[in-house]
C-alpha cells in the first residue's frame, strides 16, 4: 500500500483542490498588485500571509477527522467562551469589538466560530439517525444561534451571517424536512421588522443605501456607485491590468480589501470575471464531491457545510460589490488583502482535505 501513495496523499492534500486554491491565490496577488498602487511590499506581505494560511491548511489536513469529531464539543465551548470574553475585554476597532489580545497575537474569536459551529452541529447529528426530528432541529438551531447572536452583538453582521449559514447548511444536508425549512423561512421573513429594530444605525443605513444608492452619492452611496462604475466600465475585455482608472485614481474605496472584485472586473472585464468564477466553482464542486465521498456523516455534513459557506462568502461579496446585495463587509476569499479570514478559510480547506485523505480501509 505504501508504495502506491503519491506525495499529495502522503501529505494528506487533495491535488485538484490545491491547484484551484493556488490559482485563486495567484489571481489575488496579481489584482492586489494593481489595486495596491503597484506596491511590491503589499504583494509580498499578502504572499507571506498566504504562505502562513497554506501552512495552517497543511497542518489541519494532518489531523484525523476522528480527532476533530471528538474535539468538537470542547472546541465549540471554548469558542463560545472566547466570544463572551470578547464582548467584555475585547479591543474596539472601527466601532466594533471583535479583537481579543492574546499575548502578542490579535485574534478574532468569531473566526474560530466559523469552524467550531458547523463542527458542533455535524457532531450533534453524526451519531443520530437522519433525517433529524423536529426537536433535534431545534437543538441544532440553538447551537448555531447562540454564537451567532454573540457575534451580532459585536457587531459583525457579515460573519454572523456566515456562521448562521454554516449551521444551517449542516441542518439542510442532514435532511431537515422541507416543511420545517419552509416554516423557518416564513419565520425569518416575519421577524424582519424585529431585526430592523435591533440593527445599528450604520447597518440600517447600509440597507437603505442598498435600496437606493443615489440618495446619498457622496456619503454612504459612494462606495456602491463607484464600484458599479468600475465594474460596468470594464466592459467585456476590461481596461487592462494596471489600467483601471476607477481603481488607479482612487475613485474606488476599499479597493484592495472588500471591493477588490470591482478592480478585477474593471481591469479584466466580463471575461476575467467569468474565469475567476469558473475557478471558484471548480473549487466548490470539488469540495462538494469530497463531502459526498466522506466515509461518515460527520465528514459529509462538516465538509459540505464548510464548502457551501465558502461559496456564500463569494456570492455575498460579489453580490455586494455589484450592487445586488447590501454592503455587509465580507472580503472575497483568497483575493482580498488581509490575513484573518484567510487563515480560517484555509483551515476549513485543511479540514476538507483531512476528511478526504484519512480513509479507513473498510474492506481488507
Amino acid at each position: 500500500m505504501q508504495e502506491t501513495r503519491t506525495l499529495s496523499q502522503r501529505l494528506h492534500l487533495d491535488l485538484p483542490l490545491l491547484i484551484g486554491l493556488a490559482t485563486l491565490s495567484c489571481i489575488g496577488l496579481m489584482v492586489l498588485y494593481s489595486a495596491g498602487e503597484e506596491s511590491t511590499s503589499t504583494v509580498i506581505r499578502q504572499a507571506v500571509r498566504l504562505l502562513v494560511a497554506f501552512s495552517v491548511m497543511l497542518a489541519v489536513a494532518q489531523i484525523n477527522p476522528r480527532h476533530l469529531f471528538h474535539w468538537s464539543p470542547w472546541l465549540y465551548l471554548a469558542g463560545l467562551g472566547l466570544l463572551v470574553a470578547v464582548l467584555y475585554v475585547g479591543d474596539v476597532a472601527q466601532g466594533a469589538q471583535r479583537w481579543l489580545r492574546l499575548g502578542p497575537v490579535n485574534f478574532q474569536p468569531s473566526e474560530l466560530a466559523k469552524l467550531t459551529v458547523p463542527m458542533m452541529v455535524a457532531y450533534f447529528f453524526a451519531e443520530r439517525t437522519l433525517p433529524p426530528r423536529t426537536l433535534q432541529v431545534f437543538v441544532a438551531a440553538l447551537i448555531t444561534i447562540v454564537p451567532t447572536f454573540l457575534i451580532v452583538r459585536q457587531p459583525d453582521l457579515g460573519t454572523a451571517l456566515l456562521i448562521a449559514c454554516s449551521g444551517g447548511f449542516v441542518l439542510f444536508l442532514a435532511g431537515m424536512r422541507w416543511r420545517l425549512i419552509l416554516g423557518l423561512v416564513l419565520l425569518l421573513a416575519a421577524s424582519a421588522p424585529a431585526m430592523w429594530q435591533v440593527m445599528h444605525d450604520y447597518q440600517r443605513r447600509r440597507v437603505l443605501t442598498f435600496l437606493d444608492p443615489e440618495q446619498d452619492p457622496l456619503g454612504s452611496g459612494y462606495h456602491i456607485i463607484q464600484s458599479k462604475i468600475a465594474i460596468g466600465s470594464g466592459g467585456v475585455y476590461g481596461k487592462g491590468w494596471l489600467n483601471g482608472t476607477q481603481s488607479q485614481l482612487d475613485f474606488l474605496p476599499e479597493r484592495s480589501t472588500d471591493f477588490v472584485f470591482a478592480v478585477l472586473s474593471e481591469e479584466f472585464g466580463l471575461l476575467g470575471v467569468a474565469l475567476l468564477l469558473a475557478v471558484y466553482l471548480f473549487v466548490v464542486f470539488r469540495g462538494l464531491y469530497i463531502a459526498t465521498q466522506a466515509q461518515d456523516s460527520f465528514g459529509r455534513l462538516l465538509g459540505g457545510s464548510l464548502i457551501l459557506t465558502f461559496f456564500i462568502y463569494v456570492f455575498v461579496n460579489v453580490g455586494m460589490v455589484s450592487g445586488m446585495l447590501p454592503v455587509v463587509g465580507l472580503p472575497l476569499p483568497l483575493i482580498s488583502y488581509g490575513g484573518t479570514s484567510l487563515v480560517t478559510v484555509m483551515a476549513a480547506f485543511g479540514v476538507l482535505m483531512s476528511i478526504h485523505t484519512h480513509r479507513r480501509l473498510l474492506s481488507n
Binding site: A230, I231, D250, S265, G323
Partner: protein, 639 residues
C-alpha cells in the same frame, strides 16, 4: 429520547446527504447564473453608461489663463507688462501646524496681518493640496533668505507667477489705470467662462477700456485627476490665445515732461495731435503708483490715497470740471464773427466794468481802470472782459450755447476711456430743467468770460483747441493707436473715427481768431507774451483764470490773503506751430493764480519738448514696427 434499537442505515443516510448536495449544486448553479447575469447587465448592457461615468470621473477640464496683452506708448516704450514675481506659497496638507509655520516664516520673511488674513480665507476655500499664496511680491533678498532655510519648511515654496507691472509707475497711472482682483460686481458683467482662470481685470484707464482686447481667450487642459481632484497628468491641451498688445497714442516722454512742468501744483495737462485726435499726453497731478493695486492694496496705503485732500486717485484730465475762464474768449469771438454781429466788427470802450441797462450791478474787468478802446483782436490778446460782456449780450445765451456745443463743450468728447465727465455748457433750457429757474441776463455775461455755470474738462478744452487749430475739423480724441494681433503678430492700425466738421462762413473769421491767439503769445501786449521768449516756432494760445471763490461786489481779490485752496485756477490753451498745428494743449493749474503766470509756461515746456522730439525722430519712424515685433515675440515667449 433516542430510540435505543434504531438501526442506523448508513447507506441510506449517505444517500440522503448526497441528494441534498445535488440540490445544493443546483442552487449554486442558479446563483452563479444570477451573478453572471448581473455582471452581463453592468458590463455589456449598461457598458456605455458606466464608461461615460468613469471618464467623467477621471477627466477634468482645467482652464489656463491667457497672458494679458502688453501696452506700449506711441514710441514703443513699455507702459504695462507682465513680470514674473515671486510669491511664497504653502500646500496645507504638507504642513502639520499652520499657526507655527506662519510664526516661523514670519521670522525670516515679513508677513503682515493682511497677508495672514487673506491666507486664512484661502485656507477655508481651497483644497488641502492646492498651493496657496501667503506673501506676494517677495524681493530678491527675501527669496534668497527663504531659499537658505527652505529645508526647514516642508510644503512651503517660492513660486514665480506672471504679475502685471507698470514700469513707469506714477507717470502712467491716470491713463493706463490698473488691474486688480475681480470683484463680485465685475463677475456679474464678464463672460465667466473666458475668465475662469483669470484673477485680475482692468479696473480703470486703458486697462479697463480695452479689457476685451488685453485679456485674450482662455485655454483649456484636459487633465486626469484622482478622486481627491489632484491633477495626475495632462491628456490634452488647448493653448490660450494671449491678449492683443496695444500701442497707445500717448508719448510717455511728453507725459513725463508735462507732469514735471506742473511740479508741485495740482492740475492737469492734455495734449492732442489735432490732425488725428491722438491724445499725446493725459496728465493729472498728483498721481499714484498703479502697481500698488495689482495684488490688492493694503489698507494703510489705500487710506492715505483716499484721505488725501489732493485726491491723487481723481483723474483731473477727464473728470476735473473747471470753469474755463477766459480760454473761451476766442470761441465766443468766433461765434460773433460767424453770426456776423455788427458788434464783432466794432470797438468797445472798456472803462473797467460793465452794467446791464437799468441794473446796479457792475460786471468788472480783470484790469482795474479798463483797457480803453478795444476791438475783437485786442479783446482776445489782452483778454478784455468788458468786450465779451457786450459781445455776449449781443449773441444771447442760445446762440452761445449752440455755437459752443459744436466744439464739444457740455458733452463727453467720446475718448476711448471710460467715465469721462460731461462738463457743462449752460442754456436756459438746461437751467429750467435742472434747477427749475429762469435764465437771468447777467448769467449770459459771465458765461461770456467762461465763468458762472460753464464747466469744461481739460480734455474738452484740449479737444476744442485742436478743433480750433484744425479750423473746424473735429476729431474724437483717442488713446488707442494700434493693436498687435496675438496670433499673427500683425499690427492692426486703429482707424480714427470720422471727423465732424463745423460749418463756417468765411475763412477770414478763423484767420482773425487764430491770429489774435498767436498775438496772445507773440504780440507785445499778449497776456502770455512772456512764454514766447526763445521759442523757435509760432504758437497760438489763450490764457484763462477761473474763479474758485467769489469776491464780493466791492471787494478786491488779493491773492496773498486767500487760502491756497480758494485761489484762482490758472488755465492755458495753445496749439503750435500756428501754420501747421502738430500739438494742441490744455493746461489747468489748480489754485495756480493767473493762467499767464501758472499755466502758460507749462504749455510752453510741453510744446517745446514735443516739437523737438518730432523733429528729431522725423514724422514717420520705421523703428516703431521693429520694436513692436520684437516685443510681440518676447511676449509669446513669456507665455
Amino acid at each position: 429520547m433516542r430510540p435505543i434499537l434504531t438501526i442506523k442505515d448508513i447507506a441510506q443516510e449517505a444517500q440522503l446527504i448526497r441528494a441534498r448536495v445535488v440540490i445544493c449544486c443546483v442552487l449554486i448553479a442558479c446563483m452563479s447564473v444570477i451573478i453572471l447575469a448581473r455582471l452581463f447587465q453592468l458590463q455589456v448592457i449598461d457598458y456605455q453608461h458606466f464608461a461615460t461615468l468613469s471618464e467623467d470621473n477621471r477627466v477634468k477640464i482645467v482652464p489656463v489663463a491667457p497672458t494679458r496683452g502688453l501696452v506700449f506708448d506711441r514710441n514703443g516704450t513699455v507702459i504695462a507688462q507682465n513680470v514674473p514675481t515671486y510669491s511664497l506659497e504653502v500646500v496645507p496638507e504638507a504642513v502639520e501646524d499652520i499657526d507655527a509655520l506662519i510664526a516661523d516664516l514670519g521670522r525670516i520673511i515679513p508677513i503682515s496681518e493682511d497677508d495672514e488674513t487673506r491666507f486664512r480665507e484661502l485656507l477655508k476655500k481651497k483644497r488641502r493640496f492646492d498651493s496657496l499664496p501667503l506673501r506676494y511680491r517677495l524681493n530678491e533678498e527675501e527669496v534668497a533668505r527663504f531659499s537658505v532655510n527652505r529645508h526647514l519648511f516642508p510644503g512651503v515654496d517660492v513660486q514665480a507667477r506672471l504679475s502685471r507691472d507698470y514700469p513707469l509707475a506714477e507717470i502712467s497711472s491716470h491713463f493706463i489705470g490698473y488691474v486688480g482682483r475681480i470683484n463680485e460686481e465685475e463677475l456679474q458683467n464678464i463672460d465667466t467662462s473666458n475668465y475662469r482662470a483669470t484673477a485680475h481685470i482692468g479696473k480703470t484707464g486703458v486697462e479697463q477700456a480695452f479689457e476685451d482686447l488685453l485679456h485674450g481667450t482662455v485655454g483649456y487642459q484636459h487633465v486626469e485627476t484622482n478622486a481627491q481632484g489632484r491633477t495626475l497628468r495632462i491628456l490634452q491641451r488647448k493653448d490660450p490665445i494671449p491678449g492683443s498688445s496695444l500701442y497707445l497714442t500717448i508719448d510717455v516722454g511728453l507725459q513725463a515732461v508735462a507732469e514735471q512742468a506742473l511740479g508741485e501744483e495740482n492740475g492737469a495737462v492734455v495734449a492732442i495731435e489735432p490732425a488725428t485726435g491722438d491724445v499725446l499726453a493725459l496728465v493729472s497731478v498728483p498721481t499714484y503708483d498703479p502697481n500698488l493695486f495689482v495684488d490688492g492694496i493694503d489698507e494703510a496705503a489705500y487710506g492715505k490715497l483716499i484721505g488725501s485732500p489732493d485726491r491723487p486717485l481723481f483723474n483731473r484730465a477727464i473728470n476735473g470740471q473747471y470753469p474755463p475762464g477766459s480760454t473761451v474768449k476766442p470761441f465766443f469771438a468766433l461765434a460773433g464773427l460767424e453770426y456776423n454781429l455788427e458788434q464783432a466788427h466794432e470797438s468797445v470802450y472798456c472803462n473797467g466794468y460793465f452794467r446791464l441797462p437799468g441794473k446796479e450791478r457792475r460786471y468788472r474787468d480783470w484790469k482795474k481802470g479798463g483797457h480803453g478802446k478795444v476791438d475783437l483782436n485786442r479783446a482776445i490778446v489782452e483778454s478784455c472782459d468788458v468786450y465779451f460782456y457786450v459781445l455776449s449780450q449781443n449773441l444771447g445765451i442760445e446762440r452761445m450755447h449752440n455755437f459752443m456745443i459744436q466744439f464739444g463743450f457740455g458733452s463727453p468728447t467720446g475718448i476711448d476711456l471710460r467715465g469721462e465727465s460731461d462738463g457743462l455748457m449752460p442754456s436756459p433750457k438746461w437751467k429750467r430743467r435742472s434747477r427749475n429757474q429762469p435764465w437771468y441776463p447777467g448769467e449770459t455775461l459771465i458765461t461770456g468770460i467762461g465763468q458762472g455755470f460753464m464747466l469744461a474738462t481739460p480734455l474738452q478744452l484740449a479737444s476744442a483747441t485742436a478743433t480750433l487749430a484744425m479750423r473746424g475739423l473735429r476729431l474724437k480724441p483717442e488713446v488707442l493707436l494700434r493693436r498687435v494681433d496675438p496670433t499673427t503678430l500683425e499690427p492692426i492700425e486703429h482707424d480714427p473715427d470720422p471727423a465732424a466738421i463745423i460749418e463756417h462762413g468765411s475763412a477770414k473769421n478763423w484767420d482773425d481768431i487764430l491770429e489774435a491767439m498767436r498775438q496772445v503769445v507773440h504780440g507785445p501786449r499778449g497776456t502770455a507774451r512772456r512764454i514766447s521768449i526763445g521759442a523757435a516756432y509760432q504758437m497760438a494760445g489763450k490764457t484763462g483764470t477761473a474763479q474758485v471763490f467769489s469776491v464780493g461786489q466791492n471787494e478786491e481779490y488779493e491773492e496773498e490773503e486767500v487760502d491756497k485752496r480758494l485761489r484762482d485756477h490758472g488755465l492755458f490753451i495753445a496749439f503750435a506751430p500756428v501754420d501747421k498745428p502738430q500739438i494742441a494743449v490744455a493746461v489747468v493749474a489748480e489754485n495756480g493764480g493767473s493762467g499767464s503766470r501758472s499755466a502758460a509756461p507749462i504749455a510752453r515746456k510741453v510744446i517745446d519738448y514735443y516739437l523737438d522730439s518730432v523733429k528729431e525722430r522725423g514724422p514717420d519712424d520705421g523703428s516703431m514696427l521693429t520694436a513692436e515685433r520684437s516685443e510681440a515675440a518676447s511676449q509669446s515667449q513669456v507665455r
